[in-house]
Each structure stands twice: as structure tokens, then as C-alpha cells.
């Protein structure tokens, strides 16, 4: 009887110490243009700052990207994203998650 408890206790300890309860997700970080550029549409240019989002120079709200020219862009339109110096990984990922809802765009993030 005691040995049974010992083994169960060891198993319990193992699972308590090794298991994790946080959930993970993943998103593609597109950093280069893929495929051939056969689109006639002019590319869109988005500037991402720590607090601001500007599309072709006009300020945007990240929550309402659908209503902006981004939402009505033709299939395969290239979207160039330029990053300000103070943008961190969290901010960039937020933008990529928001842009995931617009599959017509081909997003390319420009490096420094």
C-alpha cells in the first residue's frame, strides 16, 4: 500500500513540476516578398509608430483597418510596412494580427 502511494506521489510531483498552463500561438512574420510581382496596383505604404499608424501619410486607427483603403485593396496589392525606431515586438505583432484579417494584401516589413 505504501509503495503505491509513493509511486503516485512521484507521478504527481513530476506532472506538477513539468506541466505548463500558458497557451501559445504563432503568426507568420513575413519579411521578404514571395513569388513574382505581377500586380499592376501601386503598393501601399504604412508607417508604424509606437502610438500611430499612417497609411500613405494619413493617420489610421488600428481597430478599423477594414474601413481604410487597406480593406478595399485589390488582390495581391503589396503593403510595405516601415517601422519607427521605438516600435517593439508587441506592437509589430499587434499590427500583423490585425492585417491577418485582410488576406488580399501581401505584407512586407521593411528593415532598417
Amino acid at each position: 500500500m505504501t509503495s503505491l502511494i509513493d509511486v503516485i506521489f512521484l507521478l504527481l510531483l513530476f506532472f506538477m513540476l513539468t506541466s505548463t498552463f500558458s497557451k501559445f500561438a504563432e503568426i507568420e512574420l513575413s519579411s521578404a516578398l514571395q513569388g513574382t510581382a505581377t500586380v499592376n496596383e501601386p503598393p501601399l505604404f504604412l508607417q508604424l509608430g509606437a502610438e500611430t499608424v499612417r497609411l500613405n501619410g494619413n493617420a489610421l486607427d488600428m481597430a478599423t483597418l477594414d474601413a481604410s483603403p487597406l480593406g478595399s485593396a485589390a488582390e495581391g496589392t503589396v503593403l510595405l510596412v516601415s517601422l519607427a525606431g521605438d516600435v517593439n515586438a508587441q506592437r509589430l505583432t499587434d499590427l500583423l494580427v490585425a492585417l491577418r484579417g485582410l488576406p488580399a494584401l501581401r505584407v512586407s516589413v521593411l528593415g532598417s
Partner: protein, 129 residues
């Protein structure tokens, strides 16, 4: 018979103990997921509406730009890519800290793609809104 009664009350309730421990064991086996532990100081990017995936076993990037894989410091992205087995080379997953400058992240992903990776994925932590 009367002499046995107090002796019985003093015995430890072994079955009850096992039952509780067994319940806890089942809970941790079902509710938890086994995974490579990440650095405790790492603060992952938070996202809300993405599909879930298994705990990452991937390249960790600290806010100061240090690279780490399974607790071992990596000198550069290309060096890390060279140590990967053939089967894991198409898709590379990275786990950046949320405070990492985005430009460093882009530079790193560019390095990985230049080394031969087809896709670079960022692993984030799923939170409720």
C-alpha cells in the same frame, strides 16, 4: 471488541489520502501540457485571437538581442540555423520578448531567411481579452 475500537480510530486514512493524490494527479495530467521550460524573465508577446499550438521549443530572443536555444547562448542566427536538423529547417520558430525592438526582430528574421529558412514564425502567448 471494546479494546479494539480506539486503535481503529487512530489508523491513518490511507485510502482517502490516495484518492486525493490520485485526483490531483489526474488533474495535472489532463489540464497541463508538457513542454520545454522557458526563461522565467522572458515576457512573451501577447495576442488574443490566434489559433493555439504546442509549447514552443524554439529560438528565444531576449530584449537586449541575446539569442538562446534550450538554455544555450547562440552567437548568431546563421550559427543557430546550421545546428538545426534537416527536418526542422523549412520552418523556423522564434520566441521574442515583447520589449524587443521590432527592427531587431526583422533583421533576425532576414538573417534566418538568408540562411535558408522558408518561413519564420513568431510564437506568442495567448491571453483572453
Amino acid at each position: 471488541m471494546r479494546r479494539l475500537a480506539p486503535k481503529k480510530a487512530q489508523r491513518e486514512p490511507t485510502i482517502a489520502l490516495i484518492n486525493i493524490v490520485f485526483l490531483m494527479l489526474v488533474f495535472f495530467m489532463v489540464a497541463g501540457t508538457l513542454g520545454q521550460p522557458l526563461d522565467r524573465s522572458l515576457d512573451l508577446v501577447r495576442t488574443a485571437d490566434l489559433d493555439g499550438r504546442a509549447p514552443p521549443d524554439a529560438l528565444v530572443i531576449h530584449p537586449d538581442g541575446r539569442l538562446e536555444f534550450r538554455g544555450v547562448e547562440q552567437t548568431s542566427a546563421a550559427m543557430f540555423y546550421a545546428t538545426l536538423p534537416e527536418t526542422a529547417r523549412d520552418t523556423v520558430r522564434i520566441v521574442p520578448d515583447r520589449a524587443l525592438p521590432a527592427r531587431d526582430l526583422i533583421t533576425l528574421s532576414r538573417d534566418l531567411r538568408a540562411a535558408g529558412a522558408q518561413r519564420v514564425l513568431v510564437v506568442t502567448e495567448r491571453v483572453l481579452e
